[in-house]
């Protein structure tokens, strides 16, 4: 029984690993369907809670699958689910970056790199908006982010933990009032 559960964790998450183009958000809907309706690992309510926890915790949002594995089969489940989601995509990424770095210095590689760099920078800027949209951020969030960015622009080597702590304190004090 327990082994069956581990196998189904693998069978569900390995394919998701390989289709999660654009990162975690692209597969959350599919994971929800599989774990709530198909396999009934968690209820819909539990899934929402786990999603919120994974977002609040440090690390990539796709650590959601760690929690699903943990809920279903304890520590073994957590490890199996995490590996199933991260290893296939990482192996693929390793192969691609190995080839990518192998041809470094060639004329076409330099052009590819110079061509992709502004797209990467544009995606980061878009990511800032996307994160705020998902979080349903208000004025206070933008203010804290703006001030943090300004401080880092002024002092690039400042330890960001200081800013995170300041942001946490500002929210804990002000959030009720705004």
């Amino acid at each position: 029984m327990r082994e069956n559960v581990l196998w189904s964790l693998i069978a569900v998450f390995v394919p998701f690993s390989l289709v999660s183009i654009g990162g975690g958000p692209s597969i959350f809907a599919g994971i929800q369907h599989q774990s709530v309706e198909v396999h009934r690992w968690v209820t819909a309510r539990e899934f929402v809670d786990l999603f919120a926890i994974a977002r609040a915790a440090p690390g990539p949002g796709s650590m959601l699958v760690t929690l699903l594995g943990w809920k279903v089969a304890g520590w073994t489940g957590a490890i199996v689910a995490t590996l199933a989601l991260f290893i296939p995509s990482s192996l693929l990424c390793y192969g691609v970056t190995k080839m990518w770095n192998h041809y470094r210095g060639r004329h076409w590689h330099t052009a590819l790199e110079a061509g992709l760099a502004p797209i990467g920078a544009g995606l980061i800027l878009a990511g800032v908006f996307a994160v705020f949209r998902i979080a349903g951020a208000g004025i206070l969030s933008w203010a804290v982010a703006g001030i943090a960015a300004a401080v880092l622009g002024w002092r690039p080597t400042l330890n960001p933990l200081i800013l995170l702590a300041a942001g946490a304190v500002a929210f804990a004090i002000l959030h009720d009032g705004l």
């Binding site: 690993s17 609040a56 970056t97 920078a121 995606l123 300004a150």
Partner: protein, 185 residues
């Protein structure tokens, strides 16, 4: 360009990603990685980092785990990739389970949730400064700047799907870079 990169110790690589993984709340991870790898340590230059970031986003998988594999591979080969990836994921692995265990208590203390949102907002500031730095770097050259802004408007404001946007813009951007390099040479 970066003569020290052959000597990046595996332990440093692991520790940098461990710290990024454990202390980065709410999606500011790429910004934090940029700060550690480019700004503080000079292990890579901007083009290296941003092109790797674009690759990481096109490939399947979480963007930051792909970015850690890219950086680890670039600096120290297969062992480097394993070190960076493990370092990134191991802290959050335990943190997320610890948080889930304590969730019932935390749910009754709203100020903790406020504090976590505040830390997350500050983390976005980290991402914002990297984005602005990239935009500033590109703004001196017209076409790369237009490509950057088009990417941002399409994916960020219009919420078009990322992969088709990147696949559509990449050939234009790369063709320009190719032409520019040829005409400069």
């Amino acid at each position: 360009m970066t003569p020290t990169r052959d000597h990046v110790p595996l332990a440093s690589l692991f520790l940098v990603f461990f710290r990024v993984g454990l202390f980065s709340f709410g999606g500011g991870l790429s910004g934090w990685i940029y700060r550690e790898v480019v700004t503080l340590r000079g292990w890579m230059n901007d083009d290296d980092f941003f092109s790797g970031l674009a690759l990481s986003q096109i490939l399947p998988g979480a963007n930051v785990t792909n970015l850690s594999v890219y950086i680890g591979q670039r600096l120290r080969g297969p062992v480097g990739a394993v070190c960076a990836l493990t370092g990134l994921v191991i802290g959050p692995f335990f943190a997320v389970i610890a948080l889930a265990t304590a969730y019932a208590q935390i749910a009754t203390m709203p100020w903790i949730q406020d504090a976590m949102s505040g830390a997350a907002a500050a983390a976005i500031g980290l991402l914002l400064i990297v984005a602005l730095k990239g935009a500033y770097g590109a703004s001196r050259k017209l076409v790369p700047f237009l490509i950057l802004m088009t990417t941002f408007v399409a994916v960020g404001l219009l919420q078009w799907p990322l992969v088709p946007v990147v696949l559509g813009l990449a050939p234009v951007s790369i063709a320009f870079a190719w032409w520019k390099a040829s005409s400069d040479a």
